[in-house]
């Protein structure tokens, strides 16, 4: 049972939100009073920030398309196939035949690693995200 201060994922305001965890489940969201943006309140989305975390539709295992359908596979198979496909296209064409979409919902660190992956590993600057959408 604990309250963890984190940052809301819903808009560019960046409210400080306490997520309340009990028995491994996040059961409530509440604003931080002293946080300079949230100042003790959240919008309706922020107050319901915990709702999607444990939703039964969450993906919990890797999927791969086999005979036209997405089926669960283990991580090793998903990684191996992805790595070999990217390597194949990089070799047959060039890294510029691969496009990367980074995410405004992921962390800075993940976006940094993602663009580093695109640029350093695939050798392409084909990386963008939905900044304009």
């Amino acid at each position: 049972m604990k309250d963890v201060l984190t940052t809301c994922v819903y808009c560019g305001c960046g409210c400080g939100v306490y997520l309340h965890e009990e028995n491994g489940r996040v059961i409530s969201s509440a604003p931080s009073k002293k946080h300079p943006v949230s100042r003790n309140n959240l919008c309706v989305k922020g107050w319901h920030l915990h709702d999607f975390i444990h939703h039964p539709d969450r993906l919990t295992q890797p999927l791969m398309r086999k005979n036209g359908k997405l089926v669960p596979v283990d991580w090793d198979e998903a990684f191996a196939f992805t790595a070999s496909e990217l390597a194949r296209i990089r070799q047959e064409r060039s890294g510029d035949a691969v496009g990367f979409l980074a995410s405004a919902k992921c962390t800075n660190e993940e976006n940094y690693l993602f663009q580093k992956f695109a640029r350093a590993v695939l050798g392409t600057n084909n990386i963008d995200h939905c900044a304009r959408l």
Binding site: G12, S38, V44, K105, Y112
Partner: protein
């Protein structure tokens, strides 16, 4: 954000969110602030309660517009004529800040020459607002000691978005309303970490901290740091990738936590592109419409399951903290990238996200002083933050613009790419609603949020609805030159006759089947705010 970068040298909010409540005049344009940025709207309401004047420029009568002292209900797409007319009035009435223009800006003569060729009355007719009302707004803004302009995607999602942003910057510089506390130009970012994704180089033309890939010094710096040779050619933008079609320039894509099938314009084109790729990998927390087309889907950990940072609209870098372990077998995106990188013989050895941030601080100057231990013990730091000693920057452009002098870049009216006509008589704008977020992958999972706003509604003026014999809740068939969807009508006087509005949150009513492929030449921002549609009542339900 290309517009602000050209004029000021930096494309971000010049103020902090909390400064807005101290402004004397707040001009809001192209932003449905109460629904899309509630915390900003709260500051605006507070400021108004304390006596600040509020000017709202919006074709729709939004909640904020109802509380405005002056609501300029312009015709969609006429922002540039309006801003130019306001500037002309400011010049005519000697409200320009001559000293500021002289000391801090350049290229003023070009703007002035353009403004003096302007016929204000003619402009007012294009804009659809009486000149006297525009004059009143210009006087209020021009006379303010401290004035803030907030704008959002209502400005940028037009073919002339960049030019409009530059015009806003022109207005602010002309009246000296920038470079001070509680004063400035504030683009409100739509998504939680859109600022960070840009800062981190999630863009085709720049490395982290906006260091251009086609400048050798920067490229060499990153080649040295990463130990590989890098391409100096700017890459493709999102629409160049997703609108490539069957024989597009990219043959494989790796998409991290995005849903372009719903968020990008002209859905059929995006679908054609994605389904014809040789390989598509998607990481996401849910099986989105895009993920359903993938060859490999990686289950990602949600924000509650990882540690890192987000950067908000006011450039504040703050901690995201792990609350629970990744659900099921899901992994953080960082772990997924690192493992793939290892298998492609470029091992990345990071023990923690703090270690990644150390590398960022080394390579991205504006993040130079961002370290997790500093962020842990504070409410975050606002970039630029040059080093460990630096306390961050609440407002930008103090003493000088990032690019040196602010540059006036005059712009003229460009008619939207597609306007209503006999076949498609209604003008459609798209945007967000309060209870939902982006393509709805997260917010629609909330039972209560979905109860409040569970499906796409088409806002339509009651008079138009009467002509179509449509009542509240009736289904409509909406068609554009590109596609057709059905959705329910919501009768409201928020929208004027001839104009309709809806959202892109709902995959059942994929509005981007209808939207136009036109985009801004500079920012590549799609024109989501204007396209022509026809409406018809659907009887079969």
């Amino acid at each position: 954000m290309a517009g602000l970068a050209t004029t000021f040298g930096s494309g971000a909010m010049t103020n902090s969110i909390n400064e807005i409540e101290n402004a004397q005049v707040i001009l809001v344009t192209g932003s449905n602030t109460t629904e899309a940025h509630p915390q900003v709207a709260r500051r605006i309401f507070d400021a108004v309660d304390r006596g600040a004047k509020l000017i709202v420029i919006d074709p729709r009568k939004t909640l904020l517009a109802k509380r405005a002292h002056i609501h300029l209900a312009i015709r969609p797409g006429t922002d540039i004529p309006l801003l130019n007319t306001m500037m002309r009035i400011i010049l005519d009435e000697n409200l320009a800040d001559d000293l500021f223009v002289e000391m801090r800006t350049e290229n003023f003569h070009e703007l002035r020459d353009m403004l003096f060729r302007l016929d204000c009355q003619e402009m007012a007719e294009i804009i659809g607002v009486p000149l006297e009302k525009i004059r009143a707004a210009a006087q209020i803004y021009g006379r303010a000691q401290k004035a803030v302009v907030c704008y959002c995607l209502g400005i940028t999602q037009h073919i002339c978005g960049t030019d409009t942003v530059q015009s806003i910057a022109n207005l602010a510089m002309l009246s000296g309303n920038v470079e001070k506390e509680d004063t400035g130009v504030d683009p409100l970012r739509g998504q939680n970490n859109v600022q960070g994704a840009c800062d981190m180089g999630g863009l085709p033309n720049v490395y982290p901290s906006y260091q251009r890939v086609d400048v050798d010094d920067f490229r060499l710096k990153f080649e040295k740091a990463w130990g590989v040779s890098l391409s100096g050619n700017p890459g493709l933008t999102v629409l160049e990738m997703t609108h490539g079609g069957k024989d597009g320039p990219v043959r494989a894509m790796f998409i991290m936590g995005e849903n372009p099938l719903l968020s990008d314009p002209v859905q059929e084109k995006v679908r054609e592109t994605l389904t014809n790729l040789e390989f598509l990998a998607v990481t996401d927390i849910f099986l989105t419409d895009t993920a359903e087309l993938a060859d490999v889907v990686f289950p990602a950990a949600s924000f509650a399951e990882k540690t890192g940072t987000f950067t908000n609209s006011e450039r504040r870098v703050q901690m995201v903290r792990r609350v629970i372990r990744p659900l099921g077998q899901s992994k953080t995106d960082a772990d997924i990238i690192m493992e793939l990188s290892r298998r492609l013989e470029y091992p990345m050895h990071y023990q923690s996200s703090a270690e990644v941030m150390e590398e960022i601080a080394m390579l991205a100057p504006v993040y130079g002083g961002m370290y997790h231990d500093r962020l842990e013990g504070s409410w975050g730091l606002q970039w630029p933050c040059w080093d460990r000693e630096h306390d961050g920057t609440p407002f930008l452009h103090k003493y000088y613009f990032t690019r040196g002098r602010g540059r006036f870049v005059p712009a003229s009216y460009q008619a939207p790419a597609e306007l209503p006509d006999g076949d498609y008589p209604y003008l459609l704008s798209t945007g967000r609603v309060y209870h939902q977020y982006h393509t709805g992958t997260m917010s629609r999972k909330s039972t209560l949020l979905s109860r409040e706003a569970g499906e796409a509604l088409l806002q339509i003026n009651p008079l138009d609805a009467g002509r179509l014999s449509v009542r509240n809740g009736d289904f409509l068939k909406m068609r554009s030159r590109r596609g057709e969807i059905k959705l329910r009508a919501e009768l409201t006087d928020q929208v004027r006759e001839g104009e309709v509005y809806t959202t892109f949150h709902f995959s059942e009513a994929p509005i981007n089947l209808l939207t136009i492929a036109a985009q801004d030449g500079k920012s590549k921002c799609p024109e989501y705010k204007i396209c022509a549609v026809s409406l018809e009542k659907r009887t079969e339900g």
